[in-house]
């Protein structure tokens, strides 16, 4: 049996926002934002609550129609792409997920194959193979027939990510993939994300915790009040000034002795 290659590097996966504006009704969240996401890397979007980071991710994933500007996928406006075509190039995991009671891990992951199926193309051996690979990638072997309700938080989140892996898209957008998890489970999920990037996928995630973002992302996008105030390698852009601008706190930054990524120490509320 032929195994589909997991290398997605040959497919370009350039996602850009050009002059992008997003609004809820008359309430503008983001205005004239420009962003180009580095391919094959992990990008983390960080910022205080309500800064528009999840809205930006929703806009990039076409869950939200822009009030101005465009989101471009390999130069094409995503609003003009057919839904199915978009779903074969860009996978998305929302922050809050919900599965019907009794749904098993393998059933969930199989949903990821839907964009590749159609009336003339039902479940195939290739689908089967991709699902098995996704399960392996997310380290879920042996849990295939377990109900999602019976899993630990970390396992459950890895199962959801495995569903997006099975979608076999060069681009993965994850909205706070670790928000409800304890530290051990967070690391499980972040390490899975790193492995995906190592295989050539472009990952964009909204992350609540600045320290984790610095540790696991290659590229950091810092947002404040709907605008990007800094972007780049976290080791270069994270400074006490930026932290103060973002969260209104003073801190000392020290490089992680293992990775060199910035760690926040001596955090206190900013003296105004």
């Amino acid at each position: 049996m032929s195994t589909p290659s997991d290398a997605l590097g040959d497919e370009a996966a350039g996602l850009e926002a050009s002059d992008l504006g997003l609004a809820y009704g008359k309430h503008t969240i983001i205005e004239a934002l420009n962003l180009s996401l580095p391919q094959g890397q992990v990008t983390a979007i960080v910022g205080p609550n309500g800064c528009g980071k999840s809205t930006l991710l929703a806009g990039l994933a076409r869950l939200h129609t822009p009030s101005q500007g465009h989101v471009l996928l390999d130069g094409q406006d995503i609003q003009r792409l057919p839904s199915r075509a978009l779903a074969t190039r860009l996978a998305l995991l929302p922050q809050e997920t919900h599965a019907p009671e009794g749904l098993t891990v393998s059933e969930l992951i199989r949903f990821g194959r839907q964009p590749h199926q159609g009336w003339l193309r039902q479940w195939s051996e290739e689908d089967q193979c991709v699902v098995a690979q996704a399960m392996e990638a997310a380290d879920l072997q042996g849990l295939a027939d377990r109900s999602l309700d019976a899993l630990s938080g970390g396992q459950r989140q890895r199962a959801w990510i495995a569903m997006t892996i099975a979608q076999h898209t060069p681009l993965l957008l994850l909205d706070e993939p670790t928000s409800a998890l304890d530290l051990g489970h967070q690391i499980e999920v972040f390490e899975l994300i790193r492995r995906l990037a190592a295989k050539g996928r472009t990952v964009v995630m909204v992350v609540h915790d600045l320290a984790s973002a610095c540790r696991y992302a290659d590229y950091l996008v810092a947002m404040h009040e709907g605008a990007i105030i800094a972007e780049g390698d976290p080791r270069d852009i994270v400074t006490p000034t930026l932290v103060r601008q973002l969260y209104g706190i003073d801190c000392t930054l020290i490089p992680d002795p293992e990775t060199g990524s910035p760690l926040l120490a001596g955090i206190r509320r900013a003296s105004s």
Binding site: T3, R62, Q128, Q141
Partner: protein
């Protein structure tokens, strides 16, 4: 190149559990038995032995008449109505993501019945007209109650949706009674119909509802896959390349066709759409692509069995089918609501 997946993993990722087919075959066998029993038992002089003799090629003229003009059409109508109600319940529950969303409880059947009463009072009586009107009534009922469900506060609480539906059903029931008070002729014509029954229906009624059922069936087949993904939430379904709004509209349209057709033929029959999908989920798991198949078997099984009991329980007269399904269904509803927590869809 990643390591090739092991056979074990592949096996685990494989599709439909083989047990489902066995369950479906078992249910099909039961349904066949129920259909046979429906030909054998009934009020009147033709008992099981005479009926069986006729079925086996012997028998007399009376048995021939009773079976071919009364009981066989009745079994066929029960089969059709059961399928329509079972499937419509599963569809409505999937689209409302509410295990209690049942066309009979939410006012869909009541909307349909009210519309039919209205045109009868206005003087109409043709069967085909009745079907169309029943379907429009069901559609309006469906939209009303789902509209209420989207209001702030009701959304997200399954029991509140049922309360809204109960209020709506009560209101429409009262209006229907009011209409009938003013028109004795219409009242006589539909008194038995309005409580739900399979007795005295003709095969012509089936011909009238066939197109609607066919359209609903095709739509259901086309949207089964995206509808299944809607169970993972609107955003996930969108991420998988589907259009939740379109799916939802199509589902509501098919539910209206199905419930309208069933109601036009048999009157409003509640609880089938609650009990049947519930049992189907218990047997086949949460994926609607599997539960729908079982609903096709379980729906008629419940309706035909209830119809046989309704004939025998108070023979020689008949208990209306709608009364019997309510007697079986209401305890199930109470049990579901009383459960520690509602199963989430």
């Amino acid at each position: 190149m990643p390591e090739p997946a092991t056979d074990m993993v592949l096996l685990k990722a494989a599709g439909t559990p083989p047990r489902l087919l066995a369950k479906a075959l078992f249910l099909a066998g039961l349904l066949l038995l129920a259909c046979l029993a429906s030909l054998l038992f009934g009020a009147g002089d033709v008992g099981p032995v005479r009926a069986l003799t006729w079925l086996l090629g012997g028998g007399d003229d009376e048995a021939h008449f009773v079976i071919s003009t009364l009981r066989a059409p009745r079994a066929l109508i029960g089969l059709t109505v059961g399928m329509a109600l079972g499937v419509s319940g599963a569809l409505l529950q999937a689209v409302a993501r509410n295990p209690l969303a049942e066309p009979g409880l939410l006012g869909v059947s009541a909307g349909s019945a009210f519309a039919v009463a209205l045109i009868l009072v206005m003087g109409a009586s043709a069967a085909t007209l009745r079907v169309g009107v029943a379907q429009i009534g069901a559609l309006v009922g469906c939209l009303c109650v789902l509209g209420v469900a989207r209001l702030r506060g009701v959304d997200g609480d399954p029991i509140r949706l049922v309360l809204a539906g109960a209020a709506f059903t009560g209101l429409l029931g009262a209006l229907t009674s009011l209409l009938l008070l003013y028109d004795q002729r219409a009242a006589d014509e539909i008194r038995f119909w309005v409580v739900g029954s399979l007795s005295g229906r003709r095969l012509d009624d089936l011909v009238a509802i066939a197109p609607g059922l066919l359209v609903a069936g095709v739509i259901t087949l086309l949207i089964a896959r995206p509808l299944a993904s809607l169970a993972l939430g609107e955003r996930v379904a969108t991420g998988l390349g589907h259009q939740p709004k379109l799916i939802r509209l199509l589902v509501i349209f098919s539910v209206a066709l199905l419930v309208g057709s069933a109601t036009a033929v048999a009157g409003p029959i509640a609880f089938v759409g609650l009990v049947v999908p519930y049992a189907a989920r218990a047997l086949a798991g949460p994926d609607i692509r599997r539960t729908l198949w079982l609903c096709l078997l379980l729906g008629p099984l419940m309706v035909i069995t209830a119809d046989i009991i309704s004939r025998l329980l108070v023979a020689p007269s008949e208990m209306p089918l709608g009364v019997l399904t309510a007697l079986c269904g209401a305890p199930v509803l109470v049990a579901v609501v009383r459960a520690r927590r509602l199963p989430s869809l």
